[in-house]
Symmetry: C2
Subunit: 309 residues, 2 copies
């Protein structure tokens, strides 16, 4: 079962010829979730071979242009492609004005529904779930109301060990309970521990997207133990005054968050165009948190399914 | 003196991984004129090494998304780059709503002025001039009010032949008149023809941008004799019903316009994404008008300065 992230855009406010504005796609069990939609997102989706028709849910962190200026083009293109499926957009309530403006001026022939799911940004909120995952907001601190998003796999029933079921000749109605974690008591009263009857569960996979935000330890609790964290890294620590002033983070700060939250892997991006070479940002982050990667447009990061040992 | 066109985007409504939405830049004597501004225009400007600070004038053919969805991003980026120069936008009066929406929602810190030059679309109108060129609208016929743009070099004073001036010992006050085309009468009453005293004038250079439009012979008169014509070519002639229905042109129609207008060179673009290979479009156009080129993003077309023989 797939769980992987594709980076569509990794620049900050100023896109470059190599880095598009903010946009990620998370594929969870072949459901594609678009996170932010900077200018050129539809072109990046084409470039990286993600079928546009697969996108049904768009999560918008905040309403700054570099995170949403690709929305109008994408909405139009969906229409030209004869989309029929509803499009769900999860964002700050202000998004209704953006969509209304689009519909009033460009969307007179829109053949599909746009369903807006506005959310409050002050507290973590469950905004989406399907049978595989939940999506919760992560309150961040930026110049305007902003959240991150936490995508978490749901716990699944355990996989049974067939040979044990046969060995103890366990009836089907008991198997359901065993999958939920129950032990089994044989006819002669012996207790067979659940661990003996089932395979170890899969480590739950999770992805947290934190962009844009100034350094704050308040949101560490919400991303604690996450498997993969993307944290904006607009500046080097030598420019931390500028980071504070513009409500952005430095590489050192992103790494500190990753360390405090005990995440498995840290991805950094949203780099200021002032740094021609991002190696200094990676170096700075790695001093605090070794398992750090600087993303580039088109990068794919898988979290493979693995059982707890 | 430079006069060249850079193609930033050559797709129709649906951009592809190789073709961006509509945008051209015309460089006339180091003044850069942006024509249309589809999504991703700022990224294309970066990619093709055109300095954003050089863009002071934007000409918008019509207010369909694929011709303007790059405006918001470009306006924002200008601001991030600390632009101070006024930005002039020439477009249908409806553009004021677009810019107002931008300012109300994203432009609260805009440090430079956006000056809108609204124009009516029914008649050809002079909308811009500097000492080198004029820009006139070309009324086109599309689903919404649409114009093309005709960029024309202005006639310059003639260059004198120094050796002739010396030979006849012509005084400075007479030289001014000769540059304007006057003959010279010597003290003994002999008339020296202007052609003998001046170099042949330069062939005036001109560029016409015609996109989007259904086939119509009405605008042929406005582009008659133009040196370089870009004409939208959304469809093959076998799809001409669809062209008519959507108010677009076929390759055959674009070439017919070029032929009737006696232009020097025809560029075709704005191709429907349904044609994976554009060679059929070129072939179709060349049957009518041999000097046809299918543009690609990044292509540059120069018109060199040459004297009339």
């Amino acid at each position: 079962m797939s769980f992987y992230l594709t980076i569509l855009g990794s620049s900050s406010g100023l896109p470059t010829s190599k880095r598009n504005s903010a946009a990620h796609v998370l594929n969870v069990h072949e459901h594609f979730f678009l996170i932010d939609c900077g200018e050129g997102t539809q072109i990046q989706l084409n470039r990286f071979n993600i079928r546009l028709g697969k996108i049904n849910h768009i999560f918008i962190s905040h309403l700054h242009g570099d995170h949403i200026f690709g929305l109008f083009g994408l909405i139009s293109t969906f229409n030209l492609l004869n989309r029929e499926n509803d499009l769900h957009i999860y964002a700050h309530p202000e998004i209704t004005h953006t969509i209304k403006y689009y519909k009033d001026h460009f969307g007179n022939k829109l053949q599909y529904n746009i369903i807006i799911h506005p959310f409050k940004t002050a507290r973590p909120t469950l905004i989406y779930e399907n049978k595989h995952i939940t999506v919760e907001t992560i309150p961040l601190k930026h110049r305007i109301p902003t959240v991150g998003f936490l995508f978490k796999e749901k716990e699944k029933p355990k996989n049974i060990r067939k040979e044990q079921i046969e060995k103890y000749n366990i009836p089907i109605k008991e198997i359901v309970k065993i999958k939920q974690g129950a032990d089994y008591i044989t006819k002669d009263g012996t207790t067979i521990k659940n661990e003996k009857l089932t395979l170890p569960p899969f480590k739950l996979r999770s992805y947290a997207y934190c962009s844009d935000t100034v350094y704050s330890e308040k949101y560490v609790q919400y991303i604690s133990g996450v498997r993969l964290l993307y944290h904006e890294t607009t500046f080097l620590d030598k420019d931390k005054k500028l980071a504070k002033l513009t409500y952005h983070s430095t590489a050192l700060q992103a790494a500190t968050i990753a360390k405090k939250a005990c995440v498995e892997k840290l991805l950094i991006g949203h780099f200021s165009a002032r740094y021609k070479d991002v190696s200094a940002l990676v170096k700075e982050a790695k001093k605090i948190f070794e398992n750090t990667f600087a993303v580039e447009d088109g990068d794919i990061f898988h979290i493979v399914a693995e059982r707890i040992k």
